[in-house]
Amino acid sequence: MDIKKYTEKILSALPKEAVKSVQEFRGQVSLIVESERIIDVLKLLRDRFGFRYLIDLTAVDHLPNEPRFEVVYHLWCHAEKRLIRVKTFAKGEPPTISSVVGLWSTANWHERECYDMFGIIFDGHPDLRRILLWEGFDGHPLRKDYPVEGRDEKRNN
């Protein structure tokens, strides 16, 4: 089954209002999903289509645009040997989105890293605290308005 047909098959099973659009680039499909429905969509993909392996969870900062933070999930289906990318936006200030730790335990550290690097709050995460940087670090370094060499000049030099 080629990628277009397979995407259509998935789309027909997903709730219509949940998926905003579909992008395809270099043979990889991205579903752009309403942030309120992200848990439903991921659960459906996991249980019904066999995307049981959450490869990666990350975020992208689109600074001048609103909403600013895009959260990206990469899923892999072992049975069909297929990759799918699900994207959504974390809205609000601070940016908030539901946690998927209930679906995959592996999301725990991924979400902590996103919180550490972007300051995205994952609603329902059991233990949301900084993971790579220390407690008390000022700012979230992977945001686009954070300088590469850090803000605290004294400790940098």
């Binding site: 990469h74 335990s105 993971i131 790579l132 940087l133 590469v148």
Partner: protein
């Protein structure tokens, strides 16, 4: 009898944590009640640095992500960039060089794992044997690239340098001899009662747990999950090679040990097949907008100007996003690159195998003895730069 929970700090400076891992362990006697890894002691901000560099200048950074398998990491990055650019074919000789170097790196990484894992569990001799064989690979890299750990020779569209004269024969000799030499390790460890006692039944994972925790590489295959990206999503023409993906039955530390040994043998097979099929010819595509022109021609203006522009400004990529995963020695290594059409990547996410695999340790260590914790750190095969990036 009074029961008390002791809080113990293992690391960040500890000989068995393979670097700067810190584990906050709560003990009741010898039994681990909870184990909370504290990572980030080697967080160097590679993802942020890559956003501010051209695509080519990021290659040395990616090699330093997993410093035991430098070439495997830059390979993953290069393949992701090539996918972003839409380069599908590179000259066959370059492709085989990449395969050979990637597999040599896998062997080197596994040998170092064997050395340190054995050393942590009290077997000193494998360290010297494994490092003896690893030095041969380091010599290959030094001869080819001038550097031991990080060859830094993969470029977008090919490789920077061909193998020097006579190296193909040396690699062939190494790949033929290594399975014989590995019998030394087997006699030292495989049937050693101490080794069996310390590894069998330690760190058992079922397939459901593997899927739940997102494990990959030997951690997943030890539990019997048939997941090797070289087979399921082939890149670099891995589907043309004849090799077996070893699978475990019990999902414990001992099975993962056997799997890694078998993977080294299979890597030798791949290297020998690649050497047999390797043709002579170009090692770089001739699209000088993205690939470097050959060095000896750069004196000529026709080649000098594209070379200069490529070094100073870099190349532009189409707007879009790609995800490319490869089978690194430690598991699934993936690069997710978002491009906004400029010379710099807008965002690079490095999905490293160690980061994901390490978090299962808090589950595995619970209820085990403290000495098992050291076996667990070894079996997950972490590299702290790979965890922290």
């Amino acid at each position: 009898m009074r029961k008390e929970i002791i809080k113990l700090n293992v690391g960040p400076q500890h000989p068995s944590t393979h670097g700067v891992l810190r584990l906050l362990v709560e003990l009741e006697g010898e039994v681990v009640v909870s184990c909370d890894p504290d990572i980030g002691y080697l967080h160097r901000g590679i993802e942020k640095l890559m956003e501010n560099r051209t695509y080519h200048r990021s290659i040395p950074l990616t090699e330093r992500v997993d410093y035991l398998a430098g070439a495997a990491n830059s390979l993953g990055y290069i393949l992701a960039v090539e996918r972003l650019l839409g380069i599908e074919e590179i000259p066959p000789r370059a492709r085989y060089i990449r395969v050979i170097v990637a597999e040599l790196t896998r062997i080197a990484s596994h040998l170092f794992w064997l050395a340190t894992h054995g050393h942590d569990l009290g077997a000193m001799t494998p360290l010297f044997y494994a490092l003896r064989d690893r030095e041969v690979i380091m010599d290959f890299f030094e001869k080819w690239a001038g550097k031991r750990l990080f060859p830094n020779m993969f470029r977008v569209g090919g490789v920077a340098k061909d193998f020097p004269d006579g190296m193909e024969q040396e690699i062939r000799k190494f790949a033929e001899e290594l399975p014989e030499k590995m019998k030394d390790y087997e006699t030292l460890l495989t049937k050693n009662p101490i080794w069996i006692n310390r590894t069998k039944g330690v760190g058992v994972l079922s397939i459901d747990e593997v899927l739940d925790w997102g494990l990959s590489g030997p951690m997943a295959r030890g539990s019997g999950l048939d997941f090797d990206i070289r087979k399921v999503d082939p890149y670099l023409g891995y589907d043309e090679f004849d090799f077996v993906v070893p699978l475990g039955k019990n999902g414990d530390t001992y099975d993962r040990y056997l799997i890694r040994l078998e993977e080294m043998r299979q890597s030798c097979r791949i290297i020998l097949q690649a050497l047999d099929r390797m043709p002579k010819g170009d090692i770089m595509i001739d699209d000088y907008k993205v690939a470097f022109p050959p060095k000896e021609k750069v004196v000529n203006g026709e080649y000098l100007i594209p070379h200069y522009l490529l070094v100073v400004k870099g190349f532009k990529t189409p707007k879009g996003e790609v995800f490319h995963h490869t089978e690194a020695p430690k598991g699934e290594l993936a690069f997710y690159i978002v491009s906004d059409g400029s010379e710099h990547p807008y965002r690079v996410k490095i999905r490293t195998p160690s980061f994901v695999n390490l978090q299962v340790i808090s589950k595995l260590a619970k209820g085990r003895l403290l000495s098992d914790l050291i076996a667990l750190i070894g079996t997950i095969d972490i590299v702290l730069a790979d965890v922290d990036r």
